[in-house]
């Protein structure tokens, strides 16, 4: 093994959790290609997807061979949050998913970047990309929520539907040493402020405990994830070792 000391000290569990989040969300956003409401927005979503794919490649490479990990693992071996695997739904659902996840990712990476752990260099670079992702989601949340009646209804439905997946983001992950209660409080504050500005109601359903989602980090995934993986992996599995 000729890995550097930095790579040796990144725990595999942490690299897989963050890497799988980025990979799976990247693939979901990529599904908008050719289907987005307007050309400009299609490019914005593809751009965000490519940022996330870049993060996933670095992180998965720390845990092993990136291609093997992405294309040859079974569903139960993926460690991503259930939030990021949720189907795109309508545009409001995609924006709500982006809003919840990018606010979390921004806070997490900011804290990791400020520390001196092995993930600090990666987090420092990624946090600038994620700041843009969060801005994109917040701008759209404001416009959909505080725009037309249809937009408001759909955006409220989307933030309500995905609320139960947000508690999982603050579960402990081995190798990610952050102040989770502080992270969660900052996240809740940011989301509350954005939803209020958008004239939306903060969902009041439970985010943790019984009847909520949240075992993605343990390899338990929701039904649509299997179909997404089948599409993502089928080419590589059909033509093992193929190159351009």
């Amino acid at each position: 093994m000729t890995t550097t000391s930095a790579q040796e000290t990144v725990p595999t569990a942490a690299a897989l959790a963050l890497g799988d989040d980025a990979l799976v969300l990247s693939h979901r956003l990529g599904e908008w290609a050719g289907h987005a409401p307007v050309l400009e927005e299609e490019l914005a979503l593809a751009n965000i997807a490519l940022d996330l794919l870049g993060q996933a490649r670095v992180l998965l490479s720390l845990a092993g061979d990136e291609d093997e990990l992405a294309f040859l693992r079974e569903e139960r071996a993926f460690r991503n949050l259930q939030l990021v695997e949720q189907p795109n739904g309508d545009f409001a659902h995609t924006i709500a998913r982006q809003l919840y996840f990018s606010a979390y990712q921004y806070l997490l990476y900011t804290e990791l970047a400020a520390g001196d752990g092995p993930l600090a260099p990666l987090a420092g670079k990624a946090v600038k990309e994620v700041a843009y992702h969060r801005d994109h989601a917040e701008q759209w949340t404001l416009r959909l929520g505080d725009g037309t009646a249809t937009g408001h209804t759909r955006m409220q439905r989307a933030v309500d539907a995905l609320w139960r997946y947000t508690g999982e983001m603050f579960q402990p992950v081995e190798g990610i040493d952050v102040d989770r209660p502080a992270l969660e409080a900052a996240w809740l504050e940011r989301i509350t402020r954005t939803l209020h500005r958008a004239t939306l109601t903060v969902p009041d359903g439970p985010r943790t405990g019984a009847w909520t989602a949240g075992a993605g980090r343990q390899g338990l995934h929701t039904e649509p994830f299997g179909r997404m993986l089948a599409e993502m992996q089928h080419l590589h599995r059909s033509h093992p070792g193929a190159t351009w």
């Binding site: 409401p37 307007v38 050309l39 400009e40 490019l43 994109h136 416009r143």
Partner: protein, 95 residues
């Protein structure tokens, strides 16, 4: 992809400090803030710029092709308007 009634915006990008903003293209966006963001994604994602302006296309007043002759043709045969009769001193490289 459906058509929208979003207005059109002209995008100007400054490629680095010290240069002027130059026209890069146009795009659709519902408002100025999102036009700026769309411009960032469309025209600067390979590191092409350090600053962006967006201007509503409707705010641009353009010269008409019909006025081409009175506007531009008289300039063609006046070489004395070009500073080509000076000798450039040695050592001046970026002129």
């Amino acid at each position: 992809m459906t058509d929208t009634d979003w207005p059109l915006w002209e995008v100007f990008v400054r490629s680095r400090r010290g240069l002027s903003h130059t026209h890069a293209g146009s795009l659709h966006a519902p408002d100025a803030e999102l036009a700026l963001r769309n411009a960032r994604d469309l025209y600067t994602r390979r590191g092409e710029g350090v600053s962006i302006w967006v201007v509503p296309s409707s705010a641009v007043t353009a010269s008409s092709p019909d006025e081409k002759d009175p506007f531009f043709e008289p300039a063609a045969d006046k070489p004395y308007r070009h500073p080509t009769f000076y000798e450039i001193p040695e050592g001046v490289r970026h002129l």
